[in-house]
Protein backbone atom coordinates (compact mmCIF):
# COMPACT_ATOMS: atom_id res chain seq x y z
CA UNK A 1 0.00 0.00 0.00
CA UNK A 2 1.21 3.48 -0.74
CA UNK A 3 0.49 6.41 1.56
CA UNK A 4 -2.90 7.20 0.06
CA UNK A 5 -3.97 3.57 0.14
CA UNK A 6 -3.10 3.42 3.82
CA UNK A 7 -5.34 6.43 4.51
CA UNK A 8 -8.11 4.86 2.41
CA UNK A 9 -7.82 1.61 4.33
CA UNK A 10 -8.01 3.42 7.68
CA UNK A 11 -11.01 5.49 6.57
CA UNK A 12 -12.90 2.42 5.37
CA UNK A 13 -12.22 0.65 8.66
CA UNK A 14 -13.54 3.66 10.58
CA UNK A 15 -16.68 3.66 8.46
CA UNK A 16 -17.43 0.02 9.26
CA UNK A 17 -15.86 -1.56 6.19
CA UNK A 18 -12.73 -3.21 7.63
CA UNK A 19 -12.96 -6.28 5.40
CA UNK A 20 -12.98 -4.29 2.12
CA UNK A 21 -15.39 -6.59 0.29
CA UNK A 22 -15.44 -6.01 -3.47
CA UNK A 23 -17.02 -9.06 -5.04
CA UNK A 24 -20.15 -7.35 -6.35
CA UNK A 25 -20.78 -3.96 -7.89
CA UNK A 26 -23.02 -3.03 -4.94
CA UNK A 27 -20.10 -3.68 -2.56
CA UNK A 28 -17.77 -1.62 -4.72
CA UNK A 29 -20.39 1.13 -4.92
CA UNK A 30 -20.68 1.23 -1.10
CA UNK A 31 -16.91 1.65 -0.88
CA UNK A 32 -16.88 4.39 -3.54
CA UNK A 33 -19.68 6.40 -1.98
CA UNK A 34 -18.28 5.99 1.55
CA UNK A 35 -14.92 7.39 0.47
CA UNK A 36 -16.68 10.15 -1.46
CA UNK A 37 -18.61 11.19 1.66
CA UNK A 38 -15.48 11.00 3.81
CA UNK A 39 -13.78 13.42 1.42
CA UNK A 40 -16.88 15.62 1.44
CA UNK A 41 -16.56 15.78 5.23
CA UNK A 42 -12.98 16.99 4.91
CA UNK A 43 -10.81 13.86 4.89
CA UNK A 44 -9.09 14.71 1.65
CA UNK A 45 -7.46 11.65 0.14
CA UNK A 46 -6.79 13.37 -3.16
CA UNK A 47 -9.44 11.49 -5.17
CA UNK A 48 -11.08 13.55 -7.94
CA UNK A 49 -14.48 12.00 -8.44
CA UNK A 50 -16.24 12.14 -11.79
CA UNK A 51 -19.92 11.98 -12.61
CA UNK A 52 -21.34 8.77 -14.01
CA UNK A 53 -24.79 7.26 -14.33
CA UNK A 54 -24.68 6.13 -10.70
CA UNK A 55 -23.33 9.41 -9.33
CA UNK A 56 -19.76 10.26 -8.34
CA UNK A 57 -17.33 7.47 -9.09
CA UNK A 58 -13.62 7.09 -9.73
CA UNK A 59 -11.95 4.11 -11.44
CA UNK A 60 -8.61 4.90 -9.75
CA UNK A 61 -10.25 4.46 -6.37
CA UNK A 62 -11.51 1.03 -7.38
CA UNK A 63 -7.94 0.17 -8.40
CA UNK A 64 -6.59 1.38 -5.08
CA UNK A 65 -9.18 -0.55 -3.12
CA UNK A 66 -8.48 -3.73 -5.08
CA UNK A 67 -4.80 -3.31 -4.25
CA UNK A 68 -5.68 -2.93 -0.57
CA UNK A 69 -7.96 -5.98 -0.60
CA UNK A 70 -5.35 -7.97 -2.48
CA UNK A 71 -2.68 -7.16 0.12
CA UNK A 72 -4.97 -7.94 3.02
CA UNK A 73 -5.55 -11.39 1.52
CA UNK A 74 -1.84 -12.11 1.84
CA UNK A 75 -2.16 -11.54 5.59
CA UNK A 76 -0.02 -8.41 5.38
CA UNK A 77 -1.67 -5.19 6.56
CA UNK A 78 0.65 -2.27 5.90
CA UNK A 79 -1.76 0.11 7.61
CA UNK A 80 -1.09 -1.52 10.97
CA UNK A 81 0.50 1.01 13.34
CA UNK A 82 -0.82 4.00 11.38
CA UNK A 83 -3.51 6.28 12.70
CA UNK A 84 -5.48 9.21 11.33
CA UNK A 85 -5.03 12.67 12.77
CA UNK A 86 -7.58 14.23 15.10
CA UNK A 87 -9.18 16.42 12.42
CA UNK A 88 -9.76 13.41 10.18
CA UNK A 89 -11.19 11.34 13.03
CA UNK A 90 -13.55 14.15 13.92
CA UNK A 91 -14.73 14.51 10.31
CA UNK A 92 -15.26 10.76 10.04
CA UNK A 93 -17.38 10.91 13.17
CA UNK A 94 -19.86 13.05 11.21
CA UNK A 95 -19.86 10.60 8.29
CA UNK A 96 -20.43 7.64 10.62
CA UNK A 97 -23.64 9.35 11.68
CA UNK A 98 -25.09 9.20 8.18
CA UNK A 99 -23.98 5.70 7.19
CA UNK A 100 -27.24 3.84 6.50
CA UNK A 101 -28.34 0.54 8.04
CA UNK A 102 -30.05 -2.33 6.28
CA UNK A 103 -29.07 -4.93 3.71
CA UNK A 104 -26.47 -4.29 1.02
CA UNK A 105 -28.84 -3.11 -1.77
CA UNK A 106 -30.57 -0.68 0.60
CA UNK A 107 -27.28 0.72 1.88
CA UNK A 108 -25.92 1.04 -1.65
CA UNK A 109 -29.06 2.89 -2.78
CA UNK A 110 -29.00 5.34 0.13
CA UNK A 111 -25.26 6.02 -0.16
CA UNK A 112 -25.65 6.58 -3.90
CA UNK A 113 -28.37 9.14 -3.16
CA UNK A 114 -26.36 10.97 -0.49
CA UNK A 115 -23.20 11.10 -2.61
CA UNK A 116 -25.06 12.12 -5.76
CA UNK A 117 -26.97 14.91 -4.04
CA UNK A 118 -23.80 16.20 -2.44
CA UNK A 119 -21.93 16.12 -5.75
CA UNK A 120 -24.64 17.99 -7.64
CA UNK A 121 -24.86 20.73 -5.03
CA UNK A 122 -21.16 20.97 -4.24
CA UNK A 123 -20.07 21.04 -7.88
CA UNK A 124 -22.72 23.66 -8.59
CA UNK A 125 -24.43 21.39 -11.12
CA UNK A 126 -27.78 22.63 -9.87
CA UNK A 127 -28.58 26.32 -9.59
CA UNK A 128 -30.38 25.92 -6.28
CA UNK A 129 -29.93 23.25 -3.64
CA UNK A 130 -33.62 22.43 -3.70
CA UNK A 131 -35.09 18.96 -3.71
CA UNK A 132 -37.15 19.47 -6.87
CA UNK A 133 -34.21 20.65 -8.95
CA UNK A 134 -31.87 17.94 -7.66
CA UNK A 135 -34.54 15.30 -8.25
CA UNK A 136 -34.97 16.50 -11.84
CA UNK A 137 -31.25 16.02 -12.60
CA UNK A 138 -31.29 12.59 -10.97
CA UNK A 139 -34.37 11.64 -12.97
CA UNK A 140 -32.50 12.46 -16.21
CA UNK A 141 -29.96 9.87 -15.14
CA UNK A 142 -32.68 7.27 -14.68
CA UNK A 143 -32.81 7.40 -10.89
CA UNK A 144 -36.21 6.93 -9.35
CA UNK A 145 -35.68 8.64 -6.00
CA UNK A 146 -38.84 10.27 -4.65
CA UNK A 147 -38.91 13.96 -3.77
CA UNK A 148 -39.16 12.94 -0.10
CA UNK A 149 -36.00 10.84 -0.41
CA UNK A 150 -34.10 13.69 -2.07
CA UNK A 151 -35.33 16.21 0.48
CA UNK A 152 -34.33 13.78 3.24
CA UNK A 153 -30.85 13.42 1.76
CA UNK A 154 -30.39 17.20 1.62
CA UNK A 155 -31.53 17.44 5.22
CA UNK A 156 -29.19 14.67 6.35
CA UNK A 157 -26.19 16.19 4.58
CA UNK A 158 -26.89 19.56 6.19
CA UNK A 159 -27.44 18.05 9.63
CA UNK A 160 -24.04 16.38 9.42
CA UNK A 161 -22.40 19.54 8.09
CA UNK A 162 -21.47 18.10 4.71
CA UNK A 163 -23.48 20.87 3.06
CA UNK A 164 -23.97 24.45 4.17
CA UNK A 165 -27.35 25.41 5.61
Amino acid sequence: MDGRQIVTRLVLAKLGLPEVRLDTFAERLVVQKSIYLAQAAGVNMGYSFRWYLRGPYLPELTSDVFSIASELKTGFDESAGWTLDEAALSALGRVQGLMPDGDLPARARQLELLASVHFLVNQRQVAHAEASEVQEVLRRYGKDYTSEEVAGALRTLRQHELLGA
Binding site: D2, G3, R4, Q5, I6, V7, L10, L22, F25, R28, V43, N44, M45, G46, Y47, S48, F49, R50, W51, Y52, L53, R54, Y57, P59, T62, S63, F66, S67, A69, S70, E71, K73, T74, F76, E78, G81, W82, T83, L84, D85, A87, A88, F119, L120, Q123, R124, Q125, V137, R140, Y141
Partner: protein, 471 residues
Protein backbone atom coordinates in the same frame (compact mmCIF):
# COMPACT_ATOMS: atom_id res chain seq x y z
CA UNK B 1 -25.95 15.53 -37.90
CA UNK B 2 -24.82 19.06 -37.33
CA UNK B 3 -22.46 20.28 -40.04
CA UNK B 4 -21.18 23.66 -38.95
CA UNK B 5 -18.85 25.76 -41.07
CA UNK B 6 -15.22 25.31 -40.09
CA UNK B 7 -13.82 28.14 -37.98
CA UNK B 8 -11.14 30.38 -39.55
CA UNK B 9 -7.59 29.34 -38.90
CA UNK B 10 -5.63 31.94 -36.98
CA UNK B 11 -2.34 30.12 -36.76
CA UNK B 12 -0.67 26.88 -37.78
CA UNK B 13 1.71 25.08 -35.43
CA UNK B 14 3.95 22.29 -36.71
CA UNK B 15 4.11 19.31 -34.40
CA UNK B 16 6.53 16.38 -34.55
CA UNK B 17 3.70 13.84 -34.22
CA UNK B 18 0.67 15.35 -35.93
CA UNK B 19 2.24 17.69 -38.48
CA UNK B 20 0.28 20.91 -39.02
CA UNK B 21 -2.13 21.77 -36.20
CA UNK B 22 -4.60 24.45 -37.26
CA UNK B 23 -5.55 26.73 -34.39
CA UNK B 24 -8.54 29.04 -34.10
CA UNK B 25 -8.32 32.49 -32.62
CA UNK B 26 -9.84 31.31 -29.32
CA UNK B 27 -7.36 28.43 -29.05
CA UNK B 28 -4.47 30.83 -29.72
CA UNK B 29 -5.68 33.16 -26.97
CA UNK B 30 -5.78 30.28 -24.49
CA UNK B 31 -2.36 29.01 -25.54
CA UNK B 32 -0.85 32.49 -25.21
CA UNK B 33 -1.83 32.86 -21.54
CA UNK B 34 0.92 32.68 -18.92
CA UNK B 35 -1.06 29.93 -17.17
CA UNK B 36 -0.86 27.72 -20.25
CA UNK B 37 2.68 28.71 -21.28
CA UNK B 38 3.85 27.32 -17.91
CA UNK B 39 3.44 23.86 -19.45
CA UNK B 40 6.45 24.57 -21.69
CA UNK B 41 8.55 24.11 -18.56
CA UNK B 42 6.98 20.90 -17.24
CA UNK B 43 8.47 17.77 -18.71
CA UNK B 44 5.99 15.11 -19.80
CA UNK B 45 7.99 12.18 -18.46
CA UNK B 46 9.29 13.47 -15.14
CA UNK B 47 12.91 12.39 -14.74
CA UNK B 48 12.98 9.95 -17.65
CA UNK B 49 15.59 12.17 -19.30
CA UNK B 50 18.08 10.75 -16.77
CA UNK B 51 17.62 7.44 -18.59
CA UNK B 52 16.64 8.57 -22.10
CA UNK B 53 18.53 11.81 -22.81
CA UNK B 54 16.04 13.05 -25.37
CA UNK B 55 12.94 12.56 -23.21
CA UNK B 56 12.59 16.26 -22.55
CA UNK B 57 9.29 16.86 -24.33
CA UNK B 58 6.74 18.84 -22.38
CA UNK B 59 3.13 18.92 -21.28
CA UNK B 60 2.79 21.91 -23.61
CA UNK B 61 3.48 19.86 -26.76
CA UNK B 62 1.33 16.98 -25.47
CA UNK B 63 -1.61 19.31 -24.83
CA UNK B 64 -1.45 20.63 -28.39
CA UNK B 65 -1.29 17.02 -29.59
CA UNK B 66 -4.45 16.04 -27.73
CA UNK B 67 -6.18 19.09 -29.19
CA UNK B 68 -5.14 17.94 -32.67
CA UNK B 69 -6.59 14.49 -32.06
CA UNK B 70 -9.83 15.90 -30.68
CA UNK B 71 -10.22 18.01 -33.83
CA UNK B 72 -9.98 14.90 -35.97
CA UNK B 73 -12.38 12.92 -33.79
CA UNK B 74 -14.99 15.67 -33.93
CA UNK B 75 -14.98 15.81 -37.71
CA UNK B 76 -18.66 15.72 -38.75
CA UNK B 77 -18.28 12.64 -40.95
CA UNK B 78 -17.21 10.62 -37.94
CA UNK B 79 -20.14 11.14 -35.62
CA UNK B 80 -23.79 10.44 -35.50
CA UNK B 81 -24.23 12.63 -32.47
CA UNK B 82 -25.35 16.22 -32.83
CA UNK B 83 -23.16 18.93 -31.32
CA UNK B 84 -23.57 22.69 -31.46
CA UNK B 85 -20.54 24.75 -32.58
CA UNK B 86 -20.16 25.92 -28.99
CA UNK B 87 -20.18 22.35 -27.63
CA UNK B 88 -17.55 21.40 -30.21
CA UNK B 89 -15.37 24.30 -29.17
CA UNK B 90 -15.83 23.40 -25.50
CA UNK B 91 -14.64 19.87 -26.21
CA UNK B 92 -11.59 21.15 -28.09
CA UNK B 93 -10.72 23.58 -25.31
CA UNK B 94 -11.19 20.86 -22.70
CA UNK B 95 -8.73 18.69 -24.65
CA UNK B 96 -6.27 21.58 -24.82
CA UNK B 97 -6.54 22.34 -21.09
CA UNK B 98 -6.82 18.81 -19.70
CA UNK B 99 -3.24 18.83 -18.34
CA UNK B 100 -2.96 22.51 -17.32
CA UNK B 101 -2.84 21.51 -13.65
CA UNK B 102 0.26 19.34 -13.78
CA UNK B 103 2.81 19.75 -10.99
CA UNK B 104 6.55 20.22 -11.61
CA UNK B 105 7.94 17.05 -13.19
CA UNK B 106 4.35 15.92 -13.80
CA UNK B 107 3.37 13.02 -11.59
CA UNK B 108 6.59 13.19 -9.57
CA UNK B 109 5.60 16.04 -7.26
CA UNK B 110 1.88 15.25 -7.43
CA UNK B 111 2.46 11.91 -5.73
CA UNK B 112 4.59 13.17 -2.84
CA UNK B 113 1.94 12.08 -0.34
CA UNK B 114 2.01 8.51 -1.61
CA UNK B 115 5.63 8.14 -0.55
CA UNK B 116 6.30 6.05 2.51
CA UNK B 117 9.63 6.59 4.17
CA UNK B 118 11.43 3.46 5.32
CA UNK B 119 11.25 4.66 8.92
CA UNK B 120 7.47 4.55 8.62
CA UNK B 121 7.01 1.22 6.94
CA UNK B 122 9.65 -0.98 8.51
CA UNK B 123 9.09 -2.80 11.77
CA UNK B 124 11.13 -1.71 14.76
CA UNK B 125 11.95 1.67 13.23
CA UNK B 126 9.25 3.95 14.57
CA UNK B 127 9.52 5.07 18.15
CA UNK B 128 6.37 7.19 18.19
CA UNK B 129 2.84 6.48 16.94
CA UNK B 130 2.64 7.19 13.24
CA UNK B 131 0.15 9.82 12.17
CA UNK B 132 -1.36 10.12 8.73
CA UNK B 133 -2.01 13.73 7.81
CA UNK B 134 -5.15 13.66 5.70
CA UNK B 135 -4.75 16.80 3.61
CA UNK B 136 -2.65 15.62 0.68
CA UNK B 137 -1.74 17.50 -2.46
CA UNK B 138 -4.74 17.59 -4.81
CA UNK B 139 -4.61 15.69 -8.09
CA UNK B 140 -3.46 17.55 -11.20
CA UNK B 141 -7.05 17.39 -12.43
CA UNK B 142 -8.30 19.30 -9.38
CA UNK B 143 -5.44 21.78 -9.71
CA UNK B 144 -6.31 22.20 -13.39
CA UNK B 145 -9.88 22.97 -12.40
CA UNK B 146 -8.69 25.63 -10.00
CA UNK B 147 -6.35 27.21 -12.53
CA UNK B 148 -8.99 27.38 -15.25
CA UNK B 149 -11.65 28.83 -12.98
CA UNK B 150 -9.44 31.15 -10.89
CA UNK B 151 -6.65 32.46 -13.10
CA UNK B 152 -7.82 35.67 -14.73
CA UNK B 153 -5.79 35.25 -17.92
CA UNK B 154 -7.54 31.96 -18.70
CA UNK B 155 -11.00 33.23 -17.76
CA UNK B 156 -10.47 36.18 -20.10
CA UNK B 157 -9.20 33.95 -22.91
CA UNK B 158 -12.16 31.60 -22.53
CA UNK B 159 -14.63 34.49 -22.55
CA UNK B 160 -16.30 34.23 -19.15
CA UNK B 161 -16.15 32.55 -15.78
CA UNK B 162 -19.23 30.46 -16.67
CA UNK B 163 -17.50 29.09 -19.70
CA UNK B 164 -14.33 28.44 -17.71
CA UNK B 165 -16.43 26.40 -15.27
CA UNK B 166 -17.99 24.47 -18.16
CA UNK B 167 -14.61 23.63 -19.67
CA UNK B 168 -13.28 22.57 -16.26
CA UNK B 169 -16.35 20.38 -15.79
CA UNK B 170 -15.57 18.69 -19.08
CA UNK B 171 -11.93 17.79 -18.53
CA UNK B 172 -12.48 16.87 -14.90
CA UNK B 173 -15.45 14.78 -16.04
CA UNK B 174 -17.81 16.39 -13.60
CA UNK B 175 -20.18 17.39 -16.40
CA UNK B 176 -23.72 16.53 -15.40
CA UNK B 177 -26.01 18.81 -17.39
CA UNK B 178 -25.70 17.01 -20.71
CA UNK B 179 -25.66 13.24 -20.44
CA UNK B 180 -24.67 12.73 -24.06
CA UNK B 181 -21.78 15.15 -23.87
CA UNK B 182 -20.79 13.57 -20.60
CA UNK B 183 -20.62 10.11 -22.17
CA UNK B 184 -18.68 11.44 -25.11
CA UNK B 185 -16.07 13.12 -22.96
CA UNK B 186 -15.82 10.09 -20.65
CA UNK B 187 -15.12 7.74 -23.49
CA UNK B 188 -12.95 10.13 -25.46
CA UNK B 189 -10.49 11.77 -23.12
CA UNK B 190 -8.40 8.65 -23.23
CA UNK B 191 -7.52 10.05 -26.61
CA UNK B 192 -4.85 11.36 -24.31
CA UNK B 193 -2.97 8.10 -24.63
CA UNK B 194 -3.06 8.16 -28.43
CA UNK B 195 -0.83 11.20 -28.18
CA UNK B 196 1.38 10.36 -25.23
CA UNK B 197 2.31 6.85 -26.41
CA UNK B 198 3.61 8.17 -29.72
CA UNK B 199 5.19 11.28 -28.22
CA UNK B 200 6.90 9.32 -25.44
CA UNK B 201 8.14 6.71 -27.92
CA UNK B 202 9.57 9.48 -30.08
CA UNK B 203 11.11 11.27 -27.13
CA UNK B 204 12.73 8.21 -25.63
CA UNK B 205 13.73 6.62 -28.93
CA UNK B 206 12.02 3.35 -28.00
CA UNK B 207 9.79 1.63 -30.55
CA UNK B 208 7.15 0.23 -28.20
CA UNK B 209 4.66 3.11 -28.34
CA UNK B 210 4.49 3.22 -32.14
CA UNK B 211 0.76 2.81 -32.60
CA UNK B 212 -1.18 3.03 -35.86
CA UNK B 213 -2.62 6.45 -35.09
CA UNK B 214 -4.03 7.27 -38.51
CA UNK B 215 -5.81 3.95 -38.86
CA UNK B 216 -7.28 4.27 -35.37
CA UNK B 217 -8.44 7.83 -35.94
CA UNK B 218 -9.89 7.00 -39.31
CA UNK B 219 -11.82 4.14 -37.68
CA UNK B 220 -13.23 6.15 -34.79
CA UNK B 221 -16.98 6.62 -34.68
CA UNK B 222 -19.31 8.24 -32.19
CA UNK B 223 -22.50 6.29 -31.60
CA UNK B 224 -26.00 7.79 -31.41
CA UNK B 225 -25.80 7.55 -27.61
CA UNK B 226 -22.49 9.43 -27.63
CA UNK B 227 -20.08 6.53 -27.02
CA UNK B 228 -16.78 6.60 -28.80
CA UNK B 229 -15.31 3.45 -30.31
CA UNK B 230 -13.45 2.08 -33.31
CA UNK B 231 -14.85 -0.05 -36.09
CA UNK B 232 -14.25 -3.80 -36.04
CA UNK B 233 -11.73 -3.69 -38.86
CA UNK B 234 -9.50 -1.63 -36.56
CA UNK B 235 -9.56 -4.28 -33.83
CA UNK B 236 -5.91 -5.30 -34.45
CA UNK B 237 -4.88 -1.63 -34.23
CA UNK B 238 -6.79 -1.28 -30.95
CA UNK B 239 -5.18 -4.47 -29.59
CA UNK B 240 -1.79 -3.16 -30.69
CA UNK B 241 -2.50 0.11 -28.84
CA UNK B 242 -3.06 -1.83 -25.62
CA UNK B 243 0.07 -3.92 -26.09
CA UNK B 244 2.01 -0.72 -26.90
CA UNK B 245 0.83 0.83 -23.65
CA UNK B 246 1.76 -2.35 -21.76
CA UNK B 247 5.29 -2.41 -23.16
CA UNK B 248 5.79 1.32 -22.66
CA UNK B 249 4.99 0.79 -19.00
CA UNK B 250 7.32 -2.21 -18.80
CA UNK B 251 10.23 -0.40 -20.45
CA UNK B 252 9.88 3.38 -20.13
CA UNK B 253 7.37 4.41 -17.44
CA UNK B 254 8.58 1.78 -14.96
CA UNK B 255 12.27 1.90 -15.89
CA UNK B 256 14.38 1.05 -12.86
CA UNK B 257 16.70 4.05 -13.15
CA UNK B 258 13.98 6.62 -13.77
CA UNK B 259 11.95 5.14 -10.94
CA UNK B 260 14.96 5.36 -8.61
CA UNK B 261 15.54 9.05 -9.33
CA UNK B 262 11.86 9.92 -9.06
CA UNK B 263 11.47 8.03 -5.79
CA UNK B 264 14.62 9.70 -4.43
CA UNK B 265 13.26 13.11 -5.40
CA UNK B 266 9.83 12.40 -3.92
CA UNK B 267 11.38 11.28 -0.65
CA UNK B 268 13.58 14.37 -0.60
CA UNK B 269 10.56 16.63 -1.17
CA UNK B 270 8.50 14.87 1.49
CA UNK B 271 11.25 14.99 4.09
CA UNK B 272 11.96 18.65 3.32
CA UNK B 273 8.28 19.57 3.26
CA UNK B 274 7.45 17.77 6.50
CA UNK B 275 10.27 19.58 8.29
CA UNK B 276 9.33 23.01 6.89
CA UNK B 277 12.30 23.44 4.54
CA UNK B 278 12.63 25.43 1.30
CA UNK B 279 9.09 26.84 1.34
CA UNK B 280 7.53 23.70 -0.12
CA UNK B 281 3.71 23.87 0.18
CA UNK B 282 2.95 22.03 3.41
CA UNK B 283 -0.36 20.48 2.31
CA UNK B 284 -3.18 20.51 -0.21
CA UNK B 285 -4.63 23.91 0.75
CA UNK B 286 -1.15 25.47 0.46
CA UNK B 287 -0.81 24.12 -3.10
CA UNK B 288 -4.26 25.47 -3.92
CA UNK B 289 -3.26 28.92 -2.69
CA UNK B 290 -0.09 28.81 -4.75
CA UNK B 291 -1.76 27.94 -8.06
CA UNK B 292 -4.41 30.62 -7.65
CA UNK B 293 -1.88 33.45 -7.52
CA UNK B 294 0.76 34.91 -9.84
CA UNK B 295 3.44 32.54 -8.54
CA UNK B 296 1.80 29.79 -10.60
CA UNK B 297 4.18 30.68 -13.44
CA UNK B 298 7.15 29.63 -11.31
CA UNK B 299 5.64 26.26 -10.43
CA UNK B 300 7.65 24.38 -13.05
CA UNK B 301 10.41 21.77 -13.14
CA UNK B 302 12.82 24.57 -12.21
CA UNK B 303 10.98 24.90 -8.88
CA UNK B 304 12.05 21.36 -7.94
CA UNK B 305 15.50 21.75 -9.49
CA UNK B 306 16.12 24.74 -7.26
CA UNK B 307 15.11 22.81 -4.15
CA UNK B 308 17.36 19.89 -5.11
CA UNK B 309 20.25 22.29 -5.70
CA UNK B 310 19.82 23.93 -2.28
CA UNK B 311 19.35 20.58 -0.56
CA UNK B 312 22.76 19.26 -1.58
CA UNK B 313 24.12 21.26 1.37
CA UNK B 314 21.32 20.36 3.77
CA UNK B 315 22.18 19.58 7.38
CA UNK B 316 20.14 16.38 7.24
CA UNK B 317 22.48 13.78 5.73
CA UNK B 318 19.61 11.83 4.18
CA UNK B 319 18.17 14.88 2.43
CA UNK B 320 21.65 15.93 1.33
CA UNK B 321 22.41 12.39 0.11
CA UNK B 322 19.20 12.20 -1.94
CA UNK B 323 19.83 15.65 -3.42
CA UNK B 324 23.42 14.83 -4.35
CA UNK B 325 22.37 11.58 -6.01
CA UNK B 326 19.93 13.52 -8.21
CA UNK B 327 22.14 16.51 -8.83
CA UNK B 328 25.16 14.43 -9.84
CA UNK B 329 23.09 11.79 -11.60
CA UNK B 330 24.33 8.99 -9.38
CA UNK B 331 21.38 6.56 -9.44
CA UNK B 332 20.46 4.84 -6.17
CA UNK B 333 21.89 1.30 -6.21
CA UNK B 334 19.35 -1.37 -7.07
CA UNK B 335 19.76 -4.04 -4.40
CA UNK B 336 16.97 -6.34 -5.44
CA UNK B 337 14.25 -6.42 -8.09
CA UNK B 338 11.33 -8.84 -8.01
CA UNK B 339 9.25 -9.03 -11.19
CA UNK B 340 5.86 -10.69 -10.88
CA UNK B 341 3.31 -11.66 -13.50
CA UNK B 342 0.44 -12.50 -11.26
CA UNK B 343 -1.99 -15.10 -12.47
CA UNK B 344 -5.73 -14.76 -11.91
CA UNK B 345 -6.73 -15.60 -8.34
CA UNK B 346 -3.12 -15.92 -7.11
CA UNK B 347 -2.80 -14.44 -3.64
CA UNK B 348 0.71 -14.62 -2.25
CA UNK B 349 3.47 -13.80 -4.75
CA UNK B 350 7.25 -13.37 -4.56
CA UNK B 351 6.49 -9.64 -4.56
CA UNK B 352 4.34 -9.78 -1.43
CA UNK B 353 6.91 -12.04 0.27
CA UNK B 354 9.65 -9.55 -0.63
CA UNK B 355 7.68 -6.68 0.88
CA UNK B 356 7.06 -8.67 4.04
CA UNK B 357 10.74 -9.47 4.37
CA UNK B 358 11.66 -5.82 3.85
CA UNK B 359 9.25 -4.85 6.59
CA UNK B 360 10.57 -7.46 9.03
CA UNK B 361 14.28 -7.49 8.22
CA UNK B 362 15.36 -4.14 6.81
CA UNK B 363 15.80 -2.46 10.17
CA UNK B 364 18.23 -5.14 11.35
CA UNK B 365 20.08 -5.07 8.04
CA UNK B 366 20.58 -1.30 8.23
CA UNK B 367 21.74 -1.55 11.80
CA UNK B 368 24.24 -4.34 11.00
CA UNK B 369 25.86 -2.19 8.34
CA UNK B 370 25.73 1.04 10.33
CA UNK B 371 23.37 2.68 7.82
CA UNK B 372 20.27 4.86 8.21
CA UNK B 373 16.92 3.43 7.20
CA UNK B 374 16.29 6.57 5.16
CA UNK B 375 19.02 5.45 2.77
CA UNK B 376 16.74 2.64 1.55
CA UNK B 377 14.01 3.19 -1.04
CA UNK B 378 11.38 0.47 -1.30
CA UNK B 379 9.12 0.95 -4.30
CA UNK B 380 6.66 -0.90 -6.44
CA UNK B 381 5.17 -0.09 -9.85
CA UNK B 382 1.45 0.28 -10.32
CA UNK B 383 -0.24 -3.05 -11.11
CA UNK B 384 -0.19 -3.24 -14.90
CA UNK B 385 -2.81 -4.92 -17.05
CA UNK B 386 -3.22 -5.10 -20.80
CA UNK B 387 -6.51 -3.25 -20.55
CA UNK B 388 -6.81 -0.25 -18.29
CA UNK B 389 -9.44 -1.28 -15.81
CA UNK B 390 -9.46 -1.96 -12.11
CA UNK B 391 -7.25 -4.98 -11.64
CA UNK B 392 -8.71 -8.11 -10.13
CA UNK B 393 -11.91 -7.56 -12.09
CA UNK B 394 -11.41 -10.53 -14.32
CA UNK B 395 -12.14 -10.44 -18.03
CA UNK B 396 -15.13 -12.65 -17.37
CA UNK B 397 -16.52 -10.32 -14.73
CA UNK B 398 -15.79 -7.35 -16.97
CA UNK B 399 -18.58 -8.53 -19.26
CA UNK B 400 -21.06 -7.59 -16.56
CA UNK B 401 -19.55 -4.27 -15.60
CA UNK B 402 -21.80 -1.27 -15.05
CA UNK B 403 -21.03 1.90 -17.06
CA UNK B 404 -18.81 3.27 -14.28
CA UNK B 405 -16.41 0.38 -14.50
CA UNK B 406 -16.72 -0.15 -18.22
CA UNK B 407 -15.78 3.43 -18.98
CA UNK B 408 -12.02 2.99 -19.33
CA UNK B 409 -12.34 0.01 -21.68
CA UNK B 410 -11.80 0.51 -25.41
CA UNK B 411 -15.04 0.06 -27.35
CA UNK B 412 -15.47 -1.74 -30.68
CA UNK B 413 -18.36 -1.40 -33.16
CA UNK B 414 -18.92 -5.05 -34.04
CA UNK B 415 -20.52 -5.69 -37.45
CA UNK B 416 -23.33 -3.28 -38.24
CA UNK B 417 -24.24 -2.50 -34.62
CA UNK B 418 -24.92 1.16 -33.84
CA UNK B 419 -23.56 0.97 -30.30
CA UNK B 420 -20.07 -0.35 -29.50
CA UNK B 421 -19.14 -3.12 -27.04
CA UNK B 422 -16.08 -3.33 -24.80
CA UNK B 423 -13.01 -4.91 -26.35
CA UNK B 424 -13.04 -7.73 -23.77
CA UNK B 425 -16.45 -8.76 -25.11
CA UNK B 426 -15.16 -9.35 -28.62
CA UNK B 427 -14.79 -13.12 -28.82
CA UNK B 428 -11.93 -13.08 -31.35
CA UNK B 429 -9.86 -10.48 -29.51
CA UNK B 430 -6.73 -11.57 -27.66
CA UNK B 431 -7.30 -8.87 -25.05
CA UNK B 432 -10.16 -10.67 -23.35
CA UNK B 433 -8.07 -13.85 -23.23
CA UNK B 434 -5.07 -12.47 -21.42
CA UNK B 435 -6.44 -9.41 -19.65
CA UNK B 436 -6.49 -11.09 -16.23
CA UNK B 437 -2.72 -11.14 -15.78
CA UNK B 438 -1.18 -8.39 -13.69
CA UNK B 439 2.47 -7.35 -13.98
CA UNK B 440 4.23 -5.60 -11.13
CA UNK B 441 7.84 -4.80 -10.20
CA UNK B 442 9.08 -4.52 -6.61
CA UNK B 443 12.44 -2.86 -6.01
CA UNK B 444 14.72 -2.04 -3.13
CA UNK B 445 17.35 0.67 -3.68
CA UNK B 446 20.15 2.02 -1.54
CA UNK B 447 21.38 5.64 -1.59
CA UNK B 448 25.06 5.77 -0.60
CA UNK B 449 26.28 8.77 1.37
CA UNK B 450 29.87 9.98 1.89
CA UNK B 451 31.54 7.87 4.54
CA UNK B 452 29.67 4.64 3.75
CA UNK B 453 31.70 1.51 3.12
CA UNK B 454 32.55 1.40 -0.61
CA UNK B 455 31.37 -2.20 -0.75
CA UNK B 456 28.16 -1.60 1.18
CA UNK B 457 25.91 -1.92 -1.89
CA UNK B 458 27.43 -5.28 -2.86
CA UNK B 459 27.12 -6.61 0.67
CA UNK B 460 23.53 -5.40 0.96
CA UNK B 461 22.66 -6.92 -2.40
CA UNK B 462 23.94 -10.30 -1.26
CA UNK B 463 22.04 -10.01 2.01
CA UNK B 464 18.66 -9.40 0.35
CA UNK B 465 19.16 -11.77 -2.57
CA UNK B 466 16.68 -14.34 -1.28
CA UNK B 467 14.14 -12.00 0.30
CA UNK B 468 11.56 -12.93 -2.32
CA UNK B 469 11.41 -16.44 -0.86
CA UNK B 470 9.34 -17.46 2.13
CA UNK B 471 11.39 -18.39 5.16
Amino acid sequence: MNCSAPEPVAKVVVDSIHGDIHLTDRECRVIDTASFQRLRYVKQLGMAHFTYPNATHTRFAHSLGVLAIMKRVLAPERRKVSLTPEQEEDLRLAALLHDVGHYPYSHLMEKVDSVRLSEESVEGAASTPRIVIASPYPSHVDIGRLIVTEQKDLIDALGSRDRAERIANLFSRTQVADQQLSKLISSSLDLDRLDYLLRDAGGTGTPYGQIDLNYLLNSIRISPSGLLGVSEKALPAAEHLLFARYFMHRTVYGHKTTMAFEEACRQLLRRARDTGRYGIPKDGPAVESLVKCKELGDFTDAYVDHIVHQATNDGDPIIAGLASAIRQRQPPKLLKEVLVLKEPEAQSTPGSVFKLNCRHRLSALASTHGLRLGQFLLCETKPLLLEERPHRITAGAARDLPPEEEDPLIKIFVGESEEPVSIVDVSHSIIGKCADFVFQAFRLYFVPTPGDDKHAADQLGSAVADWHKSE
